[in-house]
């Protein structure tokens, strides 16, 4: 089957999803990111790889952390970064997505970083670029609808590898609103490909998708049972808008059952790490004592995210 992320030599030319990427490519990204971590620790935090290239940040949906870390990453690669304020741009005036892309291509764009509320929007752009014969322009998905957030998935893998070294002995729990989470999907595919033997999903039935068992994920509705003996706990953000609907009774009720308190965390292994893609809702999905505690690696995740995005952009831009 044709994988739109790979060129005819099997090299990564767009990053659209962690799904369908071979372990060798995931590992190459993580290894390259390790080299970029060193660049970020220098006084001169810049290498000339993408000098003269233009990176367009197309965020059709709000995001501060992801957009900022992509911008920092591109700048550390010496690229020129253009942030489009989509809400005030032509899209708001009725221009179609692909017309916007054509216009940016006419401005000599080299790489698009795309966040979109619709699942599949980055695929549509990649496919369009192929049709118009612009194999030299690359797309990186920065989150599309409920579908995928591959750079978050990869930075989570980098974080896990950094602290746990080896994927093949781990028990990883993902907790919360997996149904609406593109992060969870990207994590599950990457964890599975990298050889994690046991991935668990923990949450209320209303927030867990039906397909999880098909992905080999073990489902738990009881938080304490799900966390038992885990090496890694990935908390997901509970989006405020979910709490008022039919899916959940209330934030307080949710926290009682699925909030990560120090007592709950004690069920996991003593050296378990706690991750969160941010932004965190303290007191909703995570207790402050855990978020600020010694097992939390939430801020290192942000730092690793810059190096991982540098790795992704430099790999795709070179292929």
């Amino acid at each position: 089957m044709h994988n739109p992320q790979l060129n005819k030599n099997g090299e990564l030319t767009h990053l659209l999803s962690t799904e369908g990427l071979p372990a060798a490519i995931l590992t190459q990204i993580l290894d390259t990111a390790a080299s970029f971590m060193e660049v970020s620790s220098r006084d001169v935090k810049k290498v000339p790889l993408l000098r003269g290239k233009s990176v367009f940040n197309l965020f059709f949906e709000n995001s501060t952390r992801t957009r900022t870390t992509f911008e920092i990453a591109a700048k550390r690669l010496s690229a020129d970064v253009i942030n489009l304020d989509i809400t005030r741009s032509s899209t708001a005036k009725g221009e179609t997505l692909l017309d916007t892309i054509d216009n940016l291509c006419a401005m000599d764009a080299n790489l698009f970083v795309v966040r979109h509320a619709s699942s599949g929007a980055p695929y549509l752009i990649a496919e369009h670029l192929r049709k118009i014969g612009r194999d030299d322009i690359h797309v990186v998905n920065a989150g599309d609808g409920r579908h995928a957030h591959p750079t978050q998935g990869l930075l989570d893998m980098y974080t896990i590898r950094h602290y746990k070294k080896d994927f093949t002995q781990l028990r990883v729990a993902i907790v919360g609103d997996i149904l609406h989470s593109r992060v969870a999907r990207s994590d599950i595919h990457a964890l599975t490909t990298l050889g994690v033997p046991e991935v668990r999903a923990i949450g209320p039935e209303t927030l867990l998708p039906k397909y999880l068992d098909k992905l080999g994920v073990h489902v738990y509705h009881d938080m304490a049972a799900g966390l038992r003996d885990c090496d890694v706990v990935i908390m997901l953000r509970l989006q405020n808008e979910r709490m008022n609907g039919a899916l959940l009774p209330s934030a307080g009720e949710y926290f009682r059952h699925y909030g990560l308190t120090p007592q709950m965390l004690a069920q996991a292994k003593p050296d378990a790490i706690v991750m969160h893609p941010g932004p965190m809702n303290r007191g909703v999905e995570i207790h402050s004592a855990v978020a600020d505690g010694p097992q939390a690696v939430i801020l290192p995740q942000v730092t690793f995210g810059i190096a991982v995005r540098m790795a992704v952009m430099s790999i795709v831009a070179g292929n």
């Binding site: 190459q28 080299s35 660049v39 006084d43 000339p48």
Partner: protein, 169 residues
């Protein structure tokens, strides 16, 4: 002259030769920076042979190469580590083979992102000619002429000893 694979010189002996060539310059307290992979192996030997106090630096030039647009990013890059302050230091870059000079150019550029060295010299085990840039070595153990299709590769064998291998494209 055609170089026969079985007449390749002993790379370990050449490391000692290279160390002796560098020894007169030790009064400047130089620091060694090896270029991956071969240059790092050689720099480790030079450091031991010359009794230098500083750990060696290691450079992977993948992020500074001039053929990124043609070849893309090298699939296996390793972190550069410079464990000493480059500012005002006399640096000796170490590589296995000096050929076009492009790797040396990339390494010098990378080095300068760590600071302004007092001087940079280049020590190589083999100089095979064929320069495409105005770059020359300061110390060498072996000058050799090879055909354009030939590739001279330094390897570390399972016993950890360095040895040359000649590839013909």
């Amino acid at each position: 002259m055609t170089l026969l694979p079985d007449s390749l010189p002993d790379a370990e002996a050449q490391c000692q030769q290279l160390a002796e060539a560098i020894r007169p310059s030790l009064s400047k307290n130089p620091a060694l920076v090896g270029i991956f992979s071969g240059g790092v192996w050689i720099a480790e030997r030079l450091r031991a042979l010359l009794g230098l106090a500083d750990e060696i630096g290691m450079i992977d030039v993948s992020f500074y190469r001039d053929d990124f647009a043609e070849k893309g990013l090298h699939p296996q890059c390793r972190p550069t580590t410079i464990p000493f302050d480059v500012q005002d230091r006399h640096i000796i870059l170490v590589d296995d083979v000096l050929y076009t000079g492009r790797t040396t150019r990339a390494a010098i550029n990378e080095l300068f992102d760590y600071g302004r060295p007092a001087s940079v010299q280049l020590a190589v085990l083999a100089d095979r000619g064929g320069r495409e840039l105005p770059i020359d070595k300061s110390f060498e153990a072996w000058e050799v002429t090879l055909g354009e299709g030939a590739n001279l590769v330094l390897e570390s064998n399972p016993q950890g000893l360095l040895a040359w291998r000649l590839e013909n494209a």
